[in-house]
Amino acid sequence: MNQATLAVHELDITFHLPEGEFYALQDISFEINPNEVVGIVGESGCGKSLTAKAIMGTLPQNASITRGNMIFQNRQLHQMLDKDWQRLRGNELTMIFQEPMTSLNPVLTIGKQVSEVLKRHTSLSKKERKQQVMKTWKKVGLPRPEALWKAYPHQLSGGMRQRVVIAMAVIGQPQLIIADEPTTALDVTTQAQILSLFQSIKQNYNNALLFISHDWGVIRRICDRVMVMYAGRIVEQGDVDKLMNEPKHPYTKSLLQAIPNASKRGQRLYTIPGNVPSLQERKTGCPFYERCPLKMKQCEAVFPDTYTFARQTVACHLFAKEGDHH
């Protein structure tokens, strides 16, 4: 059995607010293996991006890890010092954000920005760095490298900017890339191109990818496994096709039912009543209780255990009898 690239174990994240302490993430456990793409889906405010921030060690000032651990390549992430982080971040562990314009410096040329990664993390000479950058650009499908070297971010289209950001993320040959909604700001055709780029990167670099999105179509295209998050908890996870064809958790089912498509034309779409509870509104029971179409008595008071079906796990009282308990 290969060792996981990243193993997160029973992670709790707490926000320290003037009103008190609130759990933002609770009992998050998952693994990402080399060459695997794992997706996270859920509505806004469910903790998707916070999970990414926890892994990257960029939690906001008023949040902290109160339980659990994260092991990345045999290193305990939450015990690392700033100087270890600097070596790791941007090199072995990289992140891609939704809006490429905000992750690029508008007053530096593209060449300078991308080669800076190598300047920081390698001992390559200036000439070697340029060669390496151009080689990476070729791999991510950026044309005319000489012109691009001198270009500024505003001169590029959205798709090209995202390719530049991806080039920066892969140039250090990271073991894990975290991509937070990397295709949301792009139109369909560019989105499709960027998704196939991610697929070819995986083949080229053999890395693991954590892919955050609220778009199930994108998740289905790119991910091997997917985790569904709700109100700071992982409520269901499994292989992507299996999970989307046979969702078990009422929340997953509701989300999938709400997706519009051609066959639902003329019908009303299914909607989930209410909203995701805010940090302060979360209670001890199942967080989906208020909105759940299948709620039962015990759901209000007790958060359900996680039940396993083959490679799919679900945290819901409905499966108390059927699944393997753990």
Binding site: I259, P260, R268, L269
Partner: protein
């Protein structure tokens, strides 16, 4: 037989790209390059295509936020460009637009009540009491209530903000609304609520929609007819069913193959 509401003939919008020296020949960006189509009363007409294909420009031309370089827009048979200033102001009540990001279309320093009162006051529709009644009624129509009147945009969720933007669009009881990526920034669950709301309002007010989106799933669900735009031109137009089943133009083929693979 459905009546045509808006008829567009050979509509063009060019942006000047002249650089510096006056003797150099002017070059243009042809954002919209000669499109013609008809919107019928009560239909949802989808406009799809990649960024830069001219979808949003078309939407803005139809409500005259920008003026065309060439071509005509007929609203119920009347040429919009021949309107006097007074006629144009009256006509602006009939056409509205909703944008993708309600946070940037709502004034952050003004309450919901102010936002909804402004169009009514501007068009001098009734005294304060009747306007207030209409505001409350419109809030109910979009699934909100009086408690939202004193709120500011930052106090609302994304879905609620989009409901307010829709309320501001329907409060003048228009006949035609452009929805420019109006549900694209929302979560699936909220998106479903807003799409249902738009359908309800369409029945209630007999609205005609121009629905601009890059999300083909949403367009296929929502629209009766679809036009595919590519570099400023409409390359294909037809009923949703037909377009889904067989696209004629190579660009539409590649566009639809992405979603229906």
């Amino acid at each position: 037989m459905k009546q045509p509401l808006i008829k567009v003939e050979n509509l063009k919008k060019f942006y000047d790209q002249r650089r510096g020296k006056f003797w150099e020949q002017a070059s243009y960006i042809k954002a919209v390059n000669g499109i013609s189509f008809t919107l019928y009363e009560g239909e949802s007409f989808g406009l799809v295509g990649e960024s830069g294909s001219g979808k949003s420009t078309t939407g803005q031309l139809l409500v005259q936020l920008i003026q065309q370089t060439e071509g005509e827009i007929y609203f119920k048979g009347e040429d919009v460009s021949s309107f006097s200033a007074k006629q144009l102001k009256a006509w602006r009540k009939e056409v509205q637009i909703v944008f993708q990001d309600p946070f940037s279309s709502l004034n952050p320093k003004k309450t919901v009540q102010w936002t909804l009162d402004e169009p009514l006051a501007l068009h001098k529709l009734g005294d304060k009491a009747t306007r207030y009644k209409r505001i409350v009624q419109t809030l109910h129509d979009v699934g909100l209530d009086e408690s939202y009147l004193s709120r500011y945009p930052h106090e609302l969720s994304g879905g609620q903000r989009q409901r307010i933007a829709i309320a501001a669009a329907i409060i003048l009881k228009p006949q035609f609304i452009v929805i420019d990526e109006g549900v694209s920034a929302l979560d699936v669950s909220v998106q479903a609520q807003i799409l249902n709301l738009l359908k309800d309002l369409q029945h209630q007010y007999q609205l005609t929609y121009l629905f601009i989106s890059h999300d083909l799933h949403v367009v296929q669900y929502f629209c009766d007819r679809i036009a595919v735009m590519y570099s400023g031109e409409i390359v294909e137009i037809g009923e949703t069913e037909k377009i889904i089943q067989s696209q004629q133009h190579p660009y539409s083929k590649s566009l639809f193959s992405i979603v229906n693979h």
